[in-house]
């Protein structure tokens, strides 16, 4: 499938003319939506957006508040919106945002009536901090955005105490989620084939778990479980990225690996006699591995907190702190339109990432809740202080 087909600009103009006419007619017909009156953005209307996402319709098609938003924004034809990747080029972050690019550009034309260019620019360094700080200090005009995995940004702010107000960034749209899971060799013997079996086994000897990079997730899980009087002891083995994780699992050097389910599913399917996924740590089942039960379904105490605090890696497009509500609303709407496109979702899934959506309110709540949970559980996170 070629997701980067040439944009049909002439088709766009026709479509936009139709949309504009419809919106004009709708405006003339009056607006019964109180949200528009009280100044709330269409993004606040999460339910309507979700519905729109479900049936593939655009918010602009049905929204009556959108036209006000579109009228007040400061985006202009020919603008370049720079989307900063805080990672080196060539990886999943780039693959996902390059996939987004044409859909977002089309959506901005659709939602705001402007012909913009989305420029994706890698700004690696300092474990994502360089790119995040750059956007934090950027002009809050909506022309400089960042694509980030939420737990990484939260970790910089909450755990490492860096000069970063990540929770003040404005979430504009979620591309998708990486549900995490625990993969085990099929030969591993447990009292029961679920998470509680693993926890029970850890009472006799800490479980040897491979993690790619130093992650606080395992410590958070252990911390939450301890508050529920469940023992989960582990010894971490820090490996190099997903490649090191795969190798450690295949060599059976570790008992468990904490894996991103969509990315690791091919490995599991390629080695069905050697590996299996014991549990999905996320709140909902993974599209990539729909047969694997979630930690909630397995009835693990504290699972609701575990899944949201440590079981999912959400990636979102965010604007800098102080981004105007009007421009934020336009960008949120455009993201909603772009990410609800089924072609985009198919393409994103091929990059090893699960497309799901979240309303702007939910995104804000998610970021704030994650930061609050990690703050609360910071005693369990034993990352040493960065030197100064």
């Amino acid at each position: 499938m070629n997701i980067h087909a040439t944009r049909r600009r002439s088709g766009h103009r026709t479509f936009m003319s139709v949309v504009a006419l419809v919106l004009l007619l709708a405006a003339c017909g009056g607006d019964d939506d109180p949200a528009a009156d009280d100044g709330t953005t269409p993004a606040d209307d999460g339910a309507a957006d979700d519905d729109a996402a479900d049936d593939g319709a655009t918010a602009a098609d049905e929204g009556t508040a959108d036209d006000e938003v579109a009228a007040d924004h400061t985006f202009q034809d020919g603008d370049t919106i720079v989307l900063i990747l805080p990672t080196a080029p060539g990886g999943g972050f780039e693959a996902q945002t390059v996939t987004l690019q044409p859909f977002f550009e089309e959506a901005m034309a659709e939602v705001a009536g402007v012909d913009i260019t989305l420029r994706i620019e890698a700004m690696p360094g300092a474990g994502h901090l360089t790119g995040l700080q750059f956007v934090q200090n950027a002009e809050p005009d909506g022309l400089t955005l960042v694509y980030e995995q939420i737990d990484i940004g939260v970790a910089h702010q909450v755990i490492r105490g860096e000069d970063l107000a990540f929770t003040d960034f404005v979430p504009l749209g979620a591309l998708g989620v990486n549900p995490l899971g625990l993969a085990v060799p099929t030969s591993l013997e447990l009292p029961s084939d679920d998470f509680m079996g693993l926890a029970e086994r850890s009472e006799s000897e800490p479980v040897l778990i491979a993690e790619s990079g130093v992650l606080p997730q395992l410590q958070l899980i252990s911390g939450i479980l301890s508050q529920e009087d469940v023992t989960f002891e582990f010894d971490p083995v820090t490996v190099d990225g997903s490649a090191g994780l795969s190798a450690a699992l295949l060599r059976q050097e570790v008992e468990v690996g904490i894996i991103p389910i969509p990315g690791a599913t091919p490995l599991i399917e390629d080695n069905p006699d050697d590996l299996e996924i014991l549990v999905n740590l996320a709140c909902e089942r993974s599209v990539a591995a729909p047969d694997v039960e979630t930690i909630v379904e397995q009835g693990v105490p504290g699972a609701d907190r575990i899944c949201s605090a440590a079981g999912e890696a959400w990636r979102m497009v965010l604007g800098p702190p102080g981004l105007s509500e009007v421009n934020a609303a336009v960008l949120q709407e455009a993201m909603q339109v772009a990410t609800s496109n089924s072609d985009f979702q198919d393409a994103l899934f091929e990059t090893g990432f699960e497309p799901t959506q979240m309303s702007p309110d939910d995104m804000v709540s998610y970021v704030q809740d994650l930061a609050a949970t990690w703050e609360e559980l910071s005693d369990f996170i034993e990352l040493e202080d960065t030197d100064s």
């Binding site: 780039e94 490649a243 795969s246 390629d270 091929e350």
Partner: protein, 695 residues
């Protein structure tokens, strides 16, 4: 395995695929020739354009870029002592001295041939062993990789010639610098001193460029001699280079085998292979003392290994879906984007794609080598370019390479800092290759050590794994046996001398008991070299007044760094502090020893007349010119800066009566650099260059 060969070949030869392979080969070649921008950078930056291709085109395109870098990166290593890619750094050791002797054509011919044949070796081994390689790869876990890395370091140290203390100080200093940044085991940002730019450590490309390029430019500007000392490079010699490879099959095979083996092991890193191959070749040579002075084996081995490793690194990717290097990690992304999961299933179901990949790698390697041979006559002329023209052009590209590697002005700063360190090391008589080897090897050693310890829950039981134990035992035997043999012989001859009435230990008693005579073949050279006067652990010892001061000042600086790092390290706990402690305990005393030795040497020769240095320009003048470029970059941005800089240096360092005559070539050079930068960096790779303070 061979069932889909015909189908794969027909796909490869279709114009849609062959066309993108040609394009990828050209891109990879051009990009890799430029200092600093590696083929991996180009793959990463061009990955997005493969999204619109089908899977055959995308993978073939990326593989072509990857394969083109092998030989292309050696061009500037040989001609101007600036590695086109980090993996070509070892080629500078003998390639550049050959250029200085007017043998650049021969070196390029040898490099091209060794690259092509090394790649062929790697691909053939890949094809033959693909079905059985899975179990081999899985047999090498972190303990085995630690043992192999340790062996590489030990053997490199063992065959380094000359003043071993200087070599050790240089290597350990490289390790100490490599400690900066994230601790892979604990997630602590070590030795960052509050600078976020150091959180991910010192980037390797700016370090390599700085260490090799800037000191060389310093030498050229100082002496005002072109690279080819006679002023006119010896034309031809390419055929001799090709024949030299064919007449040295052992060097070729050794390099190729080492490259393939290291490539197979995921995580060891491609930068290591050429260094191991170089030092292995040196260890096996009957004339190791000539290495570093411009011997052709010193070009053949690293270049063969560099290209053979690409075939090797495809093993873990194709058989297990595990990328063994940065370039194969990018290939994995391309696989996934096209909905293909490399691994056993792909090997059974998608063999045409595997054949297309192999054809792309092999074709590109051979094609770039053929093209390289064809144009080497023109390339060689670069060695006759006057320093006042070459230096600003190369410095511009070097700083741009540093920038492009980290996509930040910090890359420029890193390049300059390491350039300064390189100049100081050179003036103090410390060789730079051990520094780079230590810098590259430390993270590999540390990472695998930590993982091994973690897997064995804190015990050292991993050392008893069969392969680990065998590798370490062989290492001990290989390193220790020459010393044992030498000691035994000394005792025997001392006894004989005693019987003959000679004083034990006297020179006569030791006459004819060269330790190399009965040492194992692999280390004969190393032992013979220990008697050699010139060495590669040491640059020429300084004799000028300033040189004598720097000779003392440099180890003092290293000692100071060690002390500071040691104190900071006390604040870390657990695995974070283990490796640094080992490095500092070794480096501190050795640096102190060198301070004492250098001071004693200074005291001993203080009354001797200073050697008159033949210099055209002072250090201060050169430093001012070098620093002017980053300042200009910062102020006015890249494009105006390089134009102004190249013209200004060419004219500013010319005598007043030749300035007018030099203006055309200055304009031409600035135009060529400008066009290259614009087309390659801005247009092709879409890198946003610094636009200056006032933009």
């Amino acid at each position: 395995m061979f069932t889909n060969l015909g189908e794969g070949l027909s796909i490869f030869l279709s114009w849609e695929v062959f066309g993108v392979v040609l394009f990828g080969a050209i891109v990879g070649f051009v990009v890799s020739v430029l200092p600093g921008i590696s083929s991996v950078n180009a793959m990463a930056l061009l990955l997005p354009i493969t999204f619109a291709m089908n899977e055959f085109q995308a993978l073939a395109f990326l593989c072509a870029i990857m394969a083109a870098g092998g030989f292309a990166g050696s061009v500037t290593s040989i001609l101007i002592n600036v590695p086109g890619d980090g993996t070509n750094a070892a080629t500078t050791l003998d390639g550049y001295p050959m250029s200085r002797k007017g043998l650049a054509g021969q070196a390029l011919g040898a490099s091209a041939t060794a690259s092509a044949l090394g790649a062929l070796f790697g691909v053939v081994i890949l094809v033959l062993m693909l079905p059985v390689m899975r179990s081999v790869i899985l047999a090498f876990g972190p303990p085995e990789m630690f043992a192999i890395s340790f062996t590489a370091v030990a053997l490199i140290a063992a065959v380094s010639r000359g003043d071993s203390v200087r070599g050790l100080v240089s290597g350990l200093f490289g390790m100490a610098i490599a400690l900066m940044g994230l601790s892979v085991a604990t997630g602590v940002y070590r030795f960052a001193f509050g600078f976020p730019v150091l959180y991910e450590g010192v980037p390797i490309i700016p370090a390599v460029i700085g260490l090799f390029a800037i000191p060389e430019l310093y030498v050229l500007l100082r002496s005002d001699e072109p690279i080819s000392r006679k002023g006119q490079p010896v034309k031809g010699g390419v055929r001799e280079g090709i024949m030299a490879v064919l007449h040295r099959p052992r060097a070729l095979l050794r390099g190729s085998a080492i490259g393939t083996l290291i490539g197979i092991i995921p995580g060891v890193g491609g930068s290591v292979a050429p260094w191991v191959a170089y030092y292995a070749e040196k260890g096996a040579s009957k004339e190791p003392e000539k290495f570093g002075t411009g011997v052709i084996e010193g070009v053949i081995a690293p270049e063969a290994s560099n290209d053979a490793k690409e075939g090797g690194s495809l093993f873990p990717l194709l058989t297990l879906g595990i990328p063994g290097s940065l370039s194969t990690a990018i290939l994995l992304t391309a696989f996934l984007i096209h909905g293909i999961a490399p691994g056993q299933r792909m090997l059974t179901q998608g063999m045409p794609l595997v054949w297309v990949i192999l054809c792309a790698v092999l074709f590109t390697n051979i094609a770039t080598s053929v093209v390289g041979v064809a144009i080497s006559g023109a390339l060689v002329r670069m060695t006759a370019v006057p320093p006042t023209l070459l230096a600003p052009a190369v410095l511009s590209l070097a700083l741009l390479g540093g920038y492009a590697d980290v996509l930040s002005f910090h890359g420029v700063v890193f390049t300059l800092i390491f350039g300064f360190i390189g100049v100081v090391m050179m003036k103090a008589g410390y060789a730079r290759p051990p520094f780079i080897v230590g810098f590259i090897m430390l993270p590999i050693l540390e990472r695998n050590f930590h993982q091994s310890i973690q897997i064995y829950r804190g015990s050292y039981g991993f050392l008893l794994r069969p392969i680990t134990l065998a590798v370490l035992a062989l290492t001990v035997v290989a390193v220790a046996s020459p010393y044992v043999v030498r000691a035994t012989k000394r005792r025997r001859h001392a006894a004989a001398a005693s019987g003959a009435g000679l004083r034990p230990g006297s020179q006569a008693a030791q006459l004819g008991v060269s330790p190399a005579t009965r040492a194992p073949d692999s280390l004969k050279g190393a032992l013979a070299s220990s008697d050699a006067s010139d060495d590669d652990a040491t640059d020429e010892l300084p004799e000028g007044a300033r040189g004598r001061i720097i000779e003392i000042a440099f180890p003092m600086f290293v000692l100071a760094v060690t002390v500071v790092f040691f104190i900071v390290n006390l604040s870390y706990g657990g695995l974070t502090a283990v490796f640094p402690r080992v490095v500092f305990f070794l480096l501190g005393p050795l640096a102190l020893l060198m301070v004492i030795r250098s001071s004693l040497r200074w005291w001993r020769i203080r009354l001797e007349p200073l050697r008159q240095e033949e210099v055209v320009r002072s250090d201060q003048l050169i430093a001012a010119w070098v620093l002017a470029l980053p300042l200009l970059l910062w102020l006015v941005g890249f494009y105006p800066a390089i134009v102004v800089y190249i013209i200004a240096m060419r004219l500013g360092l010319s005598s007043p009566n030749t300035r007018r005559a030099h203006l055309p070539d200055a304009l031409l050079a600035s135009g060529v650099v400008l066009a290259t930068v614009y087309l390659i960096f801005s247009q092709l790779l879409d890198i946003r260059l610094p636009t200056g303070l006032f933009s």
